[in-house]
Every structure is written in structure tokens, then in C-alpha cells.
């Protein structure tokens, strides 16, 4: 669509997208003084961007338990949560895999495993010194024991395949229920 004045309307988009305090070229300023259509259209485009700013600007409410989950996630990774490092016997010596690596690996494995699964979300991982616990939110209608067993088995198998030895205990805790409006 062309403006009644014959200008390509995109030139107004370019001006509207510039910083509000950016100076106009002499040509643009002169045209906007004389062309009512372009002046109105520019005002409309600027108003649209202002509406975008106003839409996204309102405060965002942090989920009340997110701070606690974040602290727990870091604590699980920085050690002490797994209980002990994993030792793998090798010819001529042994391989020691630190607690931190085991915790990071568990988190990664669980995230990748559960990412594509509808109705099961990893809320976090916590360690209590004797092992790690996967905290899950599970969709309403699913069998909680079945989900728990499946996650425990699948994560355990993935860890064992990577570590090459029996894995430390991984518990599953179902800590939240995803009701239909939140189960995305």
C-alpha cells in the first residue's frame, strides 16, 4: 500500500522504530510538517509501540516457591547432596566422579528425559546427603505411582549408561499436581 503522498509506508515504520529522541532528517521533518496522512500514521505507529511497552512493563509476580527451589537446586549441585562420589574401577586404577558432576548429570538427564513428556515437569532436584531427589509436578489423571516408577527407572538407566556403574540412589518426590489450566 502506498501513502496518498506517494511515499513508501515503510519509511514511517523506520522513523517510528527509531529512538524517540532521534533527530529527523530535514527531508522527513519537512514532509511530516506538510503531509497530514504521514504525520497521523507516524503518530499511530508510535502509539502502537507505546502500547507494547505498556503491555510488557507491568510487574511480574515471582512464583512464591521459586526462590526456595533455586536455592535447593544450587545446594544440590554444589555438593553434599549425593552422599559420596562415584568410583569406577578401571584397569590400572580407578575413576572418581565427583558428587557435583553426578548431581549435574542427574539434572541434565532428568531434564532431557522429561522435557518432551506431557503432564510431568521437573520442579527441581534436592540432595539430603544420602542421595538426590527429583521433585516432580504431575498432571491430574495420571497414575502417580506409575509416573514415579517410570521416572526413577528411566533416570537410573540413563545415569548408569553414562557412568558405567550402579548409580547413587535417586528418589522421586511428587510435590505438585498440574491441573488442566496449568498442565501445558
Amino acid at each position: 500500500m502506498t501513502s496518498p503522498c506517494g511515499r513508501d509506508p515503510d519509511w514511517l515504520v523506520e522513523i517510528a522504530a527509531a529512538d524517540p529522541d532521534a533527530p529527523l532528517s530535514r527531508d522527513a521533518a519537512e514532509h511530516l510538517r506538510t503531509c497530514r496522512y504521514c504525520a497521523d500514521r507516524l503518530a499511530e505507529l508510535r502509539e502502537r509501540l507505546d502500547r507494547v511497552r505498556a503491555t510488557v512493563a507491568p510487574p511480574v509476580r515471582t512464583p512464591p516457591d521459586l526462590v526456595g527451589r533455586s536455592v535447593a537446586a544450587v545446594r544440590a549441585i554444589r555438593g553434599g547432596g549425593v552422599g559420596s562420589p562415584v568410583l569406577v574401577a578401571q584397569r590400572g586404577g580407578s575413576l572418581r566422579i565427583s558428587e557435583q558432576v553426578v548431581a549435574l548429570l542427574t539434572r541434565q538427564v532428568a531434564t532431557e528425559l522429561l522435557d518432551p513428556v506431557a503432564g510431568v515437569r521437573l520442579q527441581g532436584i534436592v540432595g539430603d546427603g544420602e542421595g538426590l531427589a527429583l521433585r516432580l509436578a504431575v498432571g491430574y489423571g495420571l497414575s502417580l505411582p506409575d509416573v514415579g516408577r517410570w521416572v526413577q527407572r528411566a533416570v537410573g538407566a540413563a545415569l548408569e549408561s553414562t557412568l558405567g556403574v550402579a548409580v547413587p540412589a535417586v528418589r522421586v518426590e511428587i510435590v505438585d499436581l498440574l491441573v488442566p489450566s496449568t498442565a501445558r
Partner: protein, 184 residues
């Protein structure tokens, strides 16, 4: 930007091995991390995951934090990197049908139901339009327009030049206007 003095003290203490200082930083700055992640990702569940990932990354990166960067710059960088990683993981599976305005809290509640419905639709349109922007444009736009960082601060967070930030923000606004125009 978050308050620099106390964050610098906490970061310095955390880098020196004070785990309590790091936990205090997590408690004070999780709202910032979540807000940035949500504005970039447009999805509450993903944003919650990203916040935990971001704090784990921050903790692991602590030994490399020598205080050259402003603490706020460092925190924004950690949050945006974690959000970007999540976007890359999600790239193949993101559904544009999902309502990306979920979890965005709008404060002006005193409106009539029909106005609220119209507002919600417009809000959803805006968030959808932002979510469709390429991350290379979306992230600078979020930091500049909605987090209200200066161009110089955005450049420091993203470790790119100020002209590059200006160019990306300009292109983001242009693309945003074009998308919103299509949906009128």
C-alpha cells in the same frame, strides 16, 4: 538495574567461598532473573526452569567472576544466556498456539469485563509478536525496552558493540510493528 553495592559484596563473598552469601544473592535476585527469563521466553514454566539453570550456571561461573563486570551486568548475562539456551532447546518444539502472556501480571484490575477481554486479547497479541522475534532481536529489545537498560548496559550484558545493539533494537521494533500491523 539491581543495587550494585550489596550485590558486589555478596558476589565477592560468594566467590571467596561463602555459600551463605550466594544463597542470599539467589534470594534477592531471583525476581530479576525470573522477570528477564519470562519476558524473553514468554512462558512461565520455561522461565522457572531457566531461573534454576541460571543460578546453577552462576554458581559454577563464580570462580571466573573477578569483579571486572558490574554485578548487575553479570546477573543479566547469566539470565539471558540461560534463556537463550532454553530457546535453542525449545526451537523445534515451541508451539505458537500457546498463550505466551500466561503469567504476565497486569496491574490495572479495575476494568469492565468486556474491556478486560479486549485488553487480554491485545496483551496476548503483543506477547505473541514478541515471542516470534528472532532471539538476536528479542533479547536486546527486552533488555532495552522492558528492563530499561541503557544501550551501553545492554552491550555490556550481551558482549556486543553499542551500534550492534542499536541496530538490533531498531530491527526488533520494526519487525514488531510489522507483526502487529498484520494482526489488526
Amino acid at each position: 538495574m539491581p543495587r550494585a553495592g550489596s550485590d558486589r559484596t555478596l558476589l565477592a563473598a560468594a566467590a571467596a567461598g561463602d555459600t551463605g552469601a550466594f544463597d542470599a544473592l539467589v534470594r534477592s535476585q531471583t525476581p530479576l532473573m525470573y522477570r528477564v527469563a519470562l519476558r524473553i521466553l514468554g512462558n512461565t514454566a520455561d522461565a522457572e526452569d531457566v531461573v534454576q539453570d541460571a543460578w546453577i550456571s552462576a554458581w559454577r561461573a563464580l570462580p571466573r567472576f573477578r569483579g571486572q563486570a558490574e554485578p548487575s551486568t553479570w546477573l543479566y548475562r547469566v539470565a539471558t544466556n540461560a534463556a537463550l539456551a532454553q530457546l535453542r532447546r525449545r526451537r523445534r518444539t515451541v508451539s505458537l498456539d500457546a498463550d505466551p502472556s500466561d503469567g504476565m501480571i497486569v496491574v490495572d484490575d479495575a476494568v469492565r469485563p468486556e474491556d478486560a477481554a479486549l485488553r487480554d486479547e491485545r496483551t496476548a497479541q503483543v506477547h505473541r509478536a514478541i515471542a516470534e522475534l528472532d532471539p538476536s532481536q528479542r533479547i536486546p529489545l527486552v533488555l532495552r525496552e522492558f528492563e530499561e537498560l541503557s544501550y551501553e548496559e545492554v552491550a555490556a550484558v550481551l558482549q556486543i558493540s553499542v551500534p550492534a545493539v542499536r541496530s538490533r533494537v531498531h530491527r526488533a521494533r520494526t519487525a514488531l510493528l510489522a507483526r502487529l500491523e498484520e494482526r489488526r
